[in-house]
């Protein structure tokens, strides 16, 4: 059913730290790897070794330049995947019931066997989180690694989404955003986590943490006194040598 279920107590999602992300694209690759080998149709590539390669990805990392009014510009790497919205417009537009939101944890999924590949859900998503696979002709999207997070066959530490597990800088956090005391909820609270495009009224579950303000170099460093030259005018033998050499042609004036 494409009607949205009543809000669940558990709301699983991601918290992405824009301060920490270094734009290495490791999450993009681990996502592609896991989701090509597991849940649903593989994420295909077209012309992968040719002149115009293209392919399906569930997670992509943009880079933006932000120019504050009175400070140097900052580069912000910006990973983006499905935000598992509370009011997911992609679900209600689906004519077949292939798109659905899970009642128990809020994960938004596509039943690929029922998808007719009309693409309307991708039109309804403001974030570009859904991509039609050109080979399988069904809609692909982030599953929040539903086949990892509950998977008792995996070691405990691997029961998180592949992107979270792989991120070398710890910029991606996974947890229950429906629980105000969870680690992710406290992180959002402490760092002022925000929604993307709040005016689109999708109420995303995933949150983004803003980049921290950069330091301004105004006062000289506290170490500066220790770095100043101990003697600026040489005395004694060194002073004589300095003066003598300076007297030679081509020496100091």
């Amino acid at each position: 059913m494409t009607a949205l279920p009543p809000p669940s107590a558990v709301r699983l999602g991601l918290v992405i730290d824009l301060d920490t992300c270094v734009g290495c694209q490791a999450c993009v690759i681990s996502c592609k790897g896991w989701n090509t080998e597991n849940y649903g149709a593989p994420l295909s590539d077209q012309d992968p070794y040719g002149a115009a390669p293209a392919g399906t990805f569930l997670n992509r990392v943009h880079s933006y330049e932000v120019q504050p009014p009175a400070a140097p510009a900052q580069i912000v790497h910006f990973p983006k995947s499905c935000l598992h919205c509370a009011d997911a417009p992609c679900v209600t537009v689906c004519p077949t019931g292939a798109s659905y939101k899970r009642a128990e944890d809020g994960i938004v999924l596509v039943n690929e066997d029922a998808c007719i590949g009309c693409g309307l859900c991708a039109w309804a998503c403001p974030y570009g989180a859904r991509e039609m696979d050109a080979a399988a002709q069904v809609m692909k999207k982030c599953t929040l690694c539903v086949d990892r997070i509950y998977n008792a066959h995996l070691p405990e530490e691997d029961r998180v989404p592949a992107c979270v597990r792989t991120c070398p800088s710890g910029a991606r956090h996974f947890g229950d955003l429906g629980d105000p005391d969870s680690a992710v909820s406290r992180l959002v609270e402490a760092r002022g986590g925000f929604d993307l495009m709040p005016e689109q009224a999708t109420r995303p579950t995933n949150k983004y943490l803003p980049p921290r303000l950069r330091d301004h170099v105004e006062a000289p460093s506290v170490l500066a006194p220790y770095l100043t030259p101990v003697a600026d005018t040489p005395k004694g033998f060194l002073g004589w040598l300095d003066r003598a050499l300076g007297a030679l042609p081509g020496g100091a004036e």
């Binding site: 504050p68 537009v93 689906c94 403001p126 983004y208």
Partner: protein
């Protein structure tokens, strides 16, 4: 949005077909026998042909029957249901006219209501999308409806309805273009809200996430040159409305009426191309598109 030929053909032809069915259901023209057969054949060719064209853009047309199931939430599903209901009712009504020379009044009115409801559901598929501010406006269903009713009246030979409806549709279209040009800006969605980085300063796309293209760019980020669009708008207004109105005002001749229909059809195809090609999807902002407007 990508102006896919299948959707342009679908919305144009099925809009006309259901418009013609609407007038036939009301009994304008009140035809029976062979001439009823001719009118109904044209209407069904247009309506069904359009619907078939729309299945060409599906990845899995063999599963299309599933699309009738989610009418509670989905306008696309409602459209499928309304279309099939309209075609079935009008087939029964048409059979009465063609084979029995009988006009079952209530059946015709029901069929007319279902036909126009189908056009409304088509418009709502686009109009419901908050992600395309240009479409999310009352003028989208208003235009689809006046175009379908006007074009249908033209095909049905109902000049007294076709004239005012075509004039109205032309005016509405011209205003919708003018007003639509600023809807993305007025929607308040910008690269600053899309990234949430507007708090810090001015945001600019520095590097895209991929070197090649992808589904999102092909499907949703289509940019038309301003000059090109302006020229097409004029062509659409002249062919779609001005010329047919002039031809209708001339003393009646069959070849003039046929010319009016063809001209209108060409005009509607042009404006539908623009309807898709000019529609700015907010996902383009992530890629640095539409910066001039946002």
């Amino acid at each position: 949005m990508h102006p896919a030929p299948s959707v342009i053909v679908f919305t144009t032809f099925s809009g006309l077909g259901f418009g013609l069915l609407f007038w036939l259901g009301l009994g304008w023209p009140g035809v029976t026998g062979l001439s009823a057969f001719a009118f109904f054949t044209i209407a069904y060719l247009l309506a069904v042909g359009g619907l078939l064209a729309s299945t060409f853009h599906l990845g899995h047309p063999e599963r299309a029957w599933r699309a009738f199931s989610q009418w509670r939430t989905s306008w696309l599903s409602r459209e499928g249901c309304a279309a099939v209901a309209a075609l079935l009712v009008m087939a029964a009504y048409g059979a009465g006219l063609v084979f029995a020379g009988q006009r079952i009044l209530w059946l015709g009115w029901l069929g007319a209501a279902l036909s126009i409801a189908t056009v409304f559901t088509t418009a709502m598929i686009y109009s419901q999308l908050r992600t395309v501010p240009r479409w999310r406006h009352w003028s989208t269903p208003a235009l689809f409806l006046t175009l379908s009713l006007g074009g249908g009246a033209l095909l049905a030979g109902q000049t007294r309805f076709a004239l005012p409806l075509l004039v109205l549709a032309g005016l509405l279209q011209a205003w919708a273009w003018h007003d639509g040009d600023s809807r993305l800006r007025r929607s308040g969605t910008t690269l600053a809200t899309a990234t949430g980085l507007g708090q810090i300063g001015a945001v600019r796309s520095f590097a895209p996430p991929h070197t090649g293209t992808n589904y999102l760019l092909r499907e949703m980020v289509h940019v038309v040159g301003r000059r090109h669009a302006r020229r097409l708008r004029v062509i659409a207004l002249v062919l779609g409305f001005a010329l047919p109105v002039v031809l209708l005002l001339l003393p009646f001749a069959h070849w003039l009426a046929a010319l009016a229909v063809l001209s209108h059809l060409a005009g509607v195809l042009a404006l539908r191309w623009l309807f898709f090609a000019e529609a700015e999807h907010v996902v383009g902002l992530y890629y640095g598109a539409h910066q001039g407007q946002a």
